[in-house]
């Protein structure tokens, strides 16, 4: 690396490996202060969880990063560009799946590409690939109402992956999914983060889920909403997905987070 690049990297140590930077973002809904002067960095290629009690502004923050909501003040920078609207660099996975009930699995998975003007044969070929990746081969012609909650979210995930965005935004993606499917999803998330060089921003209200899947956990506290703590688990990432829940660090972090969140449970 050249001298000048080195100097630059030192000058802005955080930005250099951040895919997404949120700076001083505030958002009010009428009198409700949903977010107040919130700043947060999201490292490239990693999964960051936003964890906090319900109503603390997680969805609001995610929608601002998605460009679906405008902040009242502050800015969001993605790969060096300040964003003001949705873009092909981001894709969203919705808590309630947001599938088109009148369209087949195949069309749903290809829908992001359809909106981006990709030709039918091409987008269906890509969709087929991601349908296979999420384990839904054979269900291409099925309709959402014929699928279980877990399978529907697999469709939502495949749709978000199919557009090949750099940043994936997931809003409590597994909260409407049953426990067994949720565990499977969490394991799949680990593989996904390792396998795809993408940045994941993952909203959850489950402490265990956050600690299990995250490289970085941002704890959000309400009234006014702020980042109270950032935790980066280190030791158990390499131990294999079966051993994570038994690792002492995993258990300590879960306890620690619970200790700071318990005051906010009414």
């Amino acid at each position: 690396m050249s001298q000048t690049n080195d100097a630059f990297a030192k000058a802005v140590p955080l930005d250099a490996d951040s895919a997404v930077s949120v700076r001083n973002v505030s958002k009010n809904y009428g009198d409700v202060e949903a977010l107040k002067n919130l700043s947060l960095e999201f490292p490239r290629g990693q999964l960051t969880s936003l964890l906090g009690p319900s109503g603390c502004g997680k969805t609001t923050l995610l929608k601002i990063i998605a460009g679906l909501l405008k902040p009242d003040s502050g800015e969001v920078e993605i790969e060096g560009k300040i964003i003001s609207s949705p873009g092909p660099d981001r894709s969203f996975v919705f808590q309630d799946f947001a599938l088109l009930p009148w369209a087949s699995v195949l069309r749903n998975v290809a829908f992001g590409l359809e909106l981006r003007g990709v030709a039918k044969s091409e987008r269906e070929a890509i969709a087929e690939k991601y349908i296979k990746n999420v384990g839904l081969t054979g269900f291409e012609k099925a309709y959402p109402h014929e699928l279980s909650g877990g399978m529907r979210q697999r469709v939502g995930l495949a749709r978000a992956l199919a557009v090949d965005a750099q940043v994936l935004l997931l809003d409590e993606p597994f909260s409407a999914v049953d426990e067994q499917n949720r565990r499977k999803f969490q394991e799949d998330m680990l593989e996904l983060v390792r396998g795809e060089n993408k940045t994941f921003i993952f909203v959850t209200h489950s402490i265990e889920e956050a600690v299990y899947v995250s490289d970085q956990i941002a704890i959000l506290l309400p009234r006014p909403s702020r980042v109270s703590e950032i935790i980066r688990p280190t030791s158990f990432r390499g131990t294999g997905k079966e051993n994570i829940r038994r690792s002492p660090e995993y258990l300590d972090i879960v306890d620690e987070i619970w200790a700071s969140l318990r005051n906010y449970v009414e």
């Binding site: 998605a66 460009g67 919705f94 808590q95 947001a98 009148w102 909106l115 959402p144 109402h145 557009v163």
Partner: protein, 250 residues
């Protein structure tokens, strides 16, 4: 309906009423009710006559044109006011007023404005059908799942994309319900228009029959109209059922 343990097909009770009509007609109780069998014989005769065919053609033309305008204007207007608060507040009160207004009273005004012809009848038909189509399309859009809209926007949907790929389909079950009721109202509209203007279509025909006490002819034409209106409504109800699979799971 079941009789003696047998399940009878859908509309077999109609047969009973038909029989009653026949009997009352045979007693010769009133000229107003000729025997049903005579009515059907007349019907077969009448259907081929140029007067009937002309009336049928003119009615179908006015009806289809009226429904066409009601649908082509009503659905987009309904979707737009469903999406926009401002347009909703501007337009919705008028929709509600016209929906419940006695539109028949407007027909003479229309005749003054648009003449005693086809144009007035088409406009009357549209006026009868359009309000419920607007209202239902609006209701369909109102109940749309917000995250579908967010989803489309997050993948870069243009407003046109959102309109044709999300709003229209999400509202389709309600839209079809509105179109079905609108079509039934349009049948009323086209006939009332013709009766009041009475120089075209069935208006002219009814005038002719009732002035000459041709009750068999009168009933024959009425039965044809009822059957057509009923079939139309059933066909649209069938379309509605085709989309009901997703109406529940939006």
């Amino acid at each position: 309906m079941t009789v003696l343990g047998y399940r009878l097909p859908g509309m077999s009770s109609l047969l009973l009423w038909a029989l009653l009509w026949e009997v009352v007609g045979r007693t010769g109780w009133t000229f107003f009710i000729p025997p049903l069998s005579d009515v059907f014989v007349t019907l077969v005769d009448v259907i081929g006559t140029p007067a009937f065919l002309k009336a049928m053609y003119e009615t179908a033309y006015a009806f289809l044109a009226g429904v066409f305008f009601a649908v082509i204007i009503g659905i987009p207007v309904g979707i737009l006011i469903g999406k926009s608060r401002l347009l909703d507040e501007l337009i919705l009160p008028w929709v509600n007023i016209f929906l419940s207004a006695p539109l028949t009273a407007l027909v003479p005004v229309l005749m003054v404005l648009f003449g005693f012809g086809m144009k007035s009848i088409i406009i009357t038909t549209t006026l009868f059908a359009i309000w419920i189509i607007i209202l239902n399309s609006r209701a369909g859009v109102k109940q749309i799942n917000r995250s579908l809209v967010d989803m489309a926007r997050s993948f870069g949907a243009t407003p046109m994309d959102a309109f044709f790929k999300i709003y229209f389909w999400a509202a389709l079950p309600e839209i079809l319900g509105g179109v079905r009721i609108g079509v039934i109202r349009a049948v009323k509209g086209v006939i009332i228009g013709q009766l009041l203007i009475s120089i075209v279509g069935f208006g002219a025909l009814f005038e002719l029959y009732s002035n000459n006490f041709m009750m068999k002819h009168f009933w024959a034409v009425l039965i044809v109209l009822f059957a057509v209106a009923f079939s139309l409504s059933e066909f649209l109800a069938y379309l509605e059922r085709r989309v009901s699979y997703y109406a529940a799971s939006r």
